[in-house]
């Protein structure tokens, strides 16, 4: 008799986990090589300033970040020196490089000297990484619950043949005239609220965060989590995927067969033959005895592996929020600062830590999927 660990699912799972580990190893090696390369390049760049270029930078009243001033310098230089366009381009490029090097010199930042990857700096990153992981897991969990509720609600409403608030308002006005237009204003208000909610759901996080910055403490960790769940289109994409799977599943033959055989198949809310509203939050329990129970179970089985795609997108959302809001003490803001000050070894270490977090979540999703497959007996 073969042991469970010899089953096709577990063999496939072992292969997948091995692939994830290999990916971590490969990325680790590539990033380590990149860190060494960039550090060497950086050290070679920290040579003393070219005095001939430094004297141009020292000219008073010239703001070298302004294109107009650069063009004025170009004209003045060409007027005074018989130089070619290529030569002046080279001088301007050197000036720009030196200006940037000067502006991004780590001694300009608070805390002084250049940092390198030591045990101390790693120790400093650990609390930030822990917070990042907690936020990430909270966002993942909340998004899953909220997206599931949204997808199920949309699916059931579509089965009920319910049209949008705006369309219902227009229909009411067409049938009842001005009186209905006033009486059913609630539909118009709901439609407006729905429109605003849609805009928020699709807004990049920074648009919403900056809109609320004067009213709320946007550096609060709970606000960060809420923002990551609600904005960037994460929730909509997540819900959209599950909804599409529910629709595809509901078109399959077994659904009709089950209804013909007497399984409940009506989609009206809180009706004996229909579904309770709680189905949005506890679909597995609340839909028992209804054909939706099977539709949901099968759709979820296909949805689980697709969650991996959403994980990277979710991390992208978190990175955007932490970086765009300039929240000091958060991992991604720190990453941006280390990139700015060309402390590439630390920046690359943070990138690697984020990659490892993504991989760990992906492994968990694969394990979850494998167990679900076993539960459903979909093995050979």
């Amino acid at each position: 008799m073969s042991s469970p660990s010899d089953s096709p699912t577990f063999r496939s799972l072992r292969r997948i986990i091995l692939e994830h580990l290999s990916a971590v190893l490969v990325v680790g090696v590539v990033l380590a090589a990149l860190a060494i390369l960039l550090t060497v390049v950086e050290e070679s760049r920290t040579q003393p300033s070219d005095p001939s270029i430094a004297r141009y930078l020292a000219i008073g009243d010239v703001d070298w970040s302004r294109p107009l001033h650069k063009e004025l310098f170009r004209d003045s230089y060409l007027f005074l020196h018989p130089a070619s366009e290529g030569a002046i381009d080279s001088i301007l490029r050197n000036i720009e490089e030196m200006r940037i090097r000067d502006l991004t010199d780590p001694t300009r930042k608070l805390g002084g000297e250049r940092k390198t990857l030591t045990w101390d700096t790693v120790g400093g990153l650990v609390p930030m990484y822990v917070v990042f992981i907690i936020v990430f897991l909270s966002v993942l969990g909340l998004t899953y619950v909220a997206a599931r509720a949204m997808a199920i609600r949309k699916f059931i409403l579509s089965k009920q043949g319910r049209s949008s608030y705006l369309r219902r308002y227009v229909a009411a006005v067409q049938s009842g005239g001005l009186k209905e237009a006033v009486v059913r204003l609630d539909l118009l208000a709901r439609s407006l609220m729905y429109g605003i909610a849609s805009l928020v759901l699709f807004s990049p996080a920074y648009v919403v965060a900056y809109s609320l910055r004067t009213r709320l403490d946007t550096e609060n960790v709970f606000f960060l989590i809420l923002l990551a769940v609600v904005t960037n289109g994460v929730l909509v994409h997540y819900a959209g995927r599950l909804y599409a799977l529910l629709v595809t599943e509901s078109r399959k033959g077994y659904v009709e067969t089950a209804i013909v055989k007497g399984v409940r198949g009506k989609y009206s809310w809180d009706h004996g033959e229909g579904l309770p509203r709680m189905v949005m939050f506890t679909p597995a329990q609340a839909a028992k005895g209804h054909v939706f129970h099977e539709i949901y179970r099968n759709a979820r089985l296909q949805f689980i592996p697709s969650m991996k795609e959403h994980v990277t997108f979710m991390v992208t959302g978190l990175v955007i929020i932490e970086m765009a809001l300039n929240i000091k003490g958060y991992l991604c803001y720190t990453l941006l600062q280390h990139m700015l000050f060309r402390e590439y070894d630390i920046a690359i270490a943070i990138v690697f830590l984020i990659f490892v977090a993504v991989k760990v979540i992906e492994v968990c999703i694969d394990v979850w999927h494998a167990f679900e497959l076993r539960k459903y007996g979909n093995e050979g």
């Binding site: 692939e19 290999s22 990916a23 490969v26 990325v27 970040s65 294109p67 381009d89 490029r93 720009e96 490089e97 940037i100 502006l103 991004t104 049209s163 849609s198 805009l199 699709f202 807004s203 990049p204 920074y206 648009v207 900056y210 809109s211 609320l212 910055r213 004067t214 009213r215 709320l216 960037n232 289109g233 909509v236 959209g240 599409a244 991996k308 795609e309 990277t312 997108f313 991390v315 992208t316 990175v319 955007i320 970086m323 765009a324 300039n326 803001y333 990453l335 941006l336 990139m339 700015l340 990138v351 984020i354 990659f355 993504v358 991989k359 992906e362």
Partner: protein, 282 residues
């Protein structure tokens, strides 16, 4: 066909209409220099997203063909290496990858390798494509696998049609065009989001004093502009002081219109992609 069944067309018209109204409003109430900056930013963003989609389609098509060739040719090691790299790219959060790409773009601009704004946009878009093209590979492979299970492919092979023609003409062009267009629309929205976000982060996250290189203006960098940020801050004030609502459309037009262009475009593009999915039952 009812409007409900043509949501993609409806949302395309709504998008075009919204942009037109916003354009007319800006002509009437925004000063010319600011308006020109917004126009340039909008054009650059759309161009960048379009190039990213084209690059993603080309990359996806090429990679899918390569993997199919490895699979059919029995080159198991090459096939596994290919899927491994593909999965690896999939696991890299797009924003992290794009930040690394931005560091490369900056270096190239400083060296004078990317002199014109157009080349800079194209290069940034190709980096964006690197982190979204996997979806195209998945779609093409899925479609090919689906048709390979049908008699259709065997029948064509027996008729002497080369496999390359079957994949490109019969499967992709004749039977998967709607899928590819829908995926392109969806990627277009994703590319706009990523391009705006990376530009916003770079412009805000890095000190404004350190304007490292003069990259072409996009809606993201435009929004990060100090004036625009102040305009956006006013949106929050409207919640507690509704009397300021009117000023949004006249006094704070620059930031509000840039935010509107980003959000409204993302919303409409998502609805167009969703509408296509429903209409063609993809």
């Amino acid at each position: 066909m009812k409007v409900e069944e043509r949501k993609d067309i409806l949302w395309t018209l709504l998008w075009a209409g919204g942009l037109l109204i916003a354009g007319v409003w800006l002509v009437l109430f925004l000063n010319e220099p600011a308006r020109e900056r917004i126009q340039a930013a909008f054009f650059n963003t759309m161009l960048g997203a379009l190039v990213a989609v084209v690059a993603a389609l080309l990359l996806g098509w090429g990679t899918a063909h390569l993997l199919l060739a490895f699979e059919r040719g029995g080159k198991r090691t090459a096939y596994m290496a290919g899927t491994f790299v593909l999965n690896l790219l999939r696991s890299i959060p797009q924003m992290i990858g794009m930040l690394v790409g931005y560091a490369i773009v900056t270096t190239l601009i400083l060296r004078g390798t990317l002199p014109s704004p157009l080349v800079q946009i194209v290069f940034t878009s190709i980096i964006t494509a690197l982190f979204v093209f996997q979806e195209v590979v998945d779609l093409i492979r899925e479609r090919v696998k689906h048709y390979e299970q049908l008699e259709f492919v065997n029948a064509l092979l027996v008729c002497g049609v080369p496999p390359r023609v079957i994949i490109n003409k019969e499967i992709l062009l004749k039977n998967s065009l709607a899928h590819l267009v829908q995926k392109s629309v969806s990627l277009f929205g994703r590319a706009i989001f990523l391009l705006c976000s990376i530009d916003f982060i770079i412009s805000v996250g890095l000190s404004t004093e350190v304007n490292l290189v003069n990259l072409p203006t996009t809606l993201g960098s435009m929004l990060a502009n100090l004036d625009s940020k102040q305009d956006i801050l006013v949106v929050g004030s409207v919640v507690t002081d509704p009397s300021m609502f009117g000023s949004l459309f006249f006094e704070h037009l620059q930031g509000v219109s840039v935010a509107f262009l980003i959000v409204y475009s993302l919303l409409c593009i998502h609805r167009i992609a969703g509408g296509m999915m429903e209409r063609y039952r993809l």
